[in-house]
Symmetry: none
Subunit: 176 residues, 4 copies
DNA sequence: AATGAATGAGAGTTCATTCAT
DNA sequence: GATGAATGAACTCTCATTCAT
């Protein structure tokens, strides 16, 4: 519900109704509405960071690593669509909220990891040296992760077709 | 304020305080909080669509058109940053809200316009034929417009450097 | 906890936490929160009335009786400080609560007992006849029992020094 | 209502009902329930301190000053009975509450003022030198101010008869 | 004797909106 | 064009209490 309607548009009563209990009863399980958000986000971010780290640590060459990160991103959009949407929608709002520092921290970790891969590729001569690594990371990140706003499982695309199309565009560019 | 804090996180009192009047007095100028949003968004979308249409109508060849649309997008992010951020943040929420159908309509118009340009490029043999036009449009759109979430005027980048870097990546791809 | 934080400011959970069990488990030992209060207060009031009665029944002359009642009051403040504080804080609130009629009854018993001593002293010519007995009782009672709000065992005073100072003031007055 | 039922036992809805408006409307006049308490208490304490200070500054001799302070206290109990009761009931609870430091401060000011008068009387030889001034102050204060818990205007006593009886007891003591 | 999940009522507070002045 | 008082609904959260286990 947080992903669909937004955190602050979702009421505790909405959640309790969906759970089939009274709103007060939720407080037996969570200390606050924010605590529910924390549990959702930290679980998601922990898993994502672990998978990203594993890809890079087991990596062979920068291009395979970057392709792996991108493919894993599309898979995550498929497997944890609502968590991704939640993160996309609320991350900027949470940046300033006390108790949610871990969100910005995890984002910074991710950014550093991706940029290292891009720089390694440039150093190895496999990625164009004239591209700004930080900028390139952001263009890729946004192009990939924004997919969550329109992707629907069971629709025209699968994580694999998305990754294939995106990588084709990214690798060789749009020009014939 | 809608762009910065979000529409529903911004109270009518916040706006009135910033305007130096009392909240009730705002209703002399706007029929509702939503009417303020409508005015902001429709002005922004009208201007944007007009500029996009002009680019394509005055267009020479598909590549120049696409580059023009992208460059104009970065300029708009610079010139109307808050309106763009507002649109990015609230568009999906507004899709279902009565009275805001015009937002989705304008978005569809834009999408059709961009996709026509891409398809024209493929037909002319200048864009890769194996790319899905709709998918390519979304990857580009998201990569470009998400810039608004981190771009700050006066920072390391200008609309021109952003466009130059993005077009370099888009034209030739990341591979050396 | 009732004495320190007040009855209605103390939650059943507070009490259960302090007891190292869960709040629901308290209801195995007490039928309600009020039942805990009853147990505390009735035990305290029973003991106090018994000691007061004993003093007066074993009494020799009115002055010794009054001094004895006052000294016993200071001792009770020392020995059962929290119970006294609880009684002082909650008595007026409880006056109207169903099931707590015993509190007002015990207070009335006490009042009658003290006033009898004062009137006996006036009849015997040992206490000033021009003093209103009921009023004098209340002035004494409040001066003595309010001590509980600031008295701390182990501090500058003992029940004995308090009684000595108070009796000096009461016996001869403030004027030199 | 705060005086009668206690601050935390009084609900915002109780107050609004008594005022003939809805509970939310109260927040147009007060920022919070605590703000109502602040307004009541600070007004009361400011006035009381001003009157006490005036009595001592205009004073001739210590006995007249002390009598004046006591008489003024009984008058205040008569004139501002509910404010006095509120202060008596809530002062100790408020001692620890953020934003209510002014209550403890005013109390300390009062205490210092009364004790100075008592010490001046002892120095002048008009008050018994063997009495502990701080202790004597507290016995008097509690005897006098606790009156509020049972005094009812229009009843058997007036502020003047109360003061007369109390001063008779205080001046010469209970012994004949 | 204790757990832990749930209840249901009610708490303080927020806020878009209305409207007589 | 603005005020300021009020509305009414909804919000998050608290808490004494119940009860099957």
């Amino acid at each position: 519900m947080f992903a669909t309607k937004g955190f602050s548009q979702t009421t505790v009563r909405d959640i309790a109704d969906a759970a089939g209990i009274l709103s007060g009863s939720l407080y037996h399980h969570f200390r606050s509405k924010e605590a529910m958000l924390t549990e959702l986000l930290s679980g998601f971010l922990d898993g994502l960071n672990a998978r990203f780290t594993e890809i890079v640590e087991a990596g062979v060459d920068p291009q395979a690593d970057l392709d792996g990160l991108i493919t894993e991103s599309f898979r995550t959009i498929h497997n944890e669509r609502l968590a991704v949407a939640l993160y996309q929608n609320e991350a900027s709002f949470l940046a300033t909220v006390e108790g949610f520092e871990f969100v910005a921290e995890r984002s910074r970790d991710n950014e550093a990891l991706w940029i290292r891969v891009i720089e390694a590729g440039q150093a190895a001569g496999v990625f164009q040296a004239s591209l700004d690594p930080a900028l390139t990371y952001r263009f890729i990140r946004d192009g990939v992760w924004s997919t969550v706003s329109w992707y629907r499982p069971g629709g025209r695309h699968t994580p694999e077709t998305l990754a294939e199309q995106y990588l084709k565009l990214l690798h060789a560019g749009i020009l014939a």
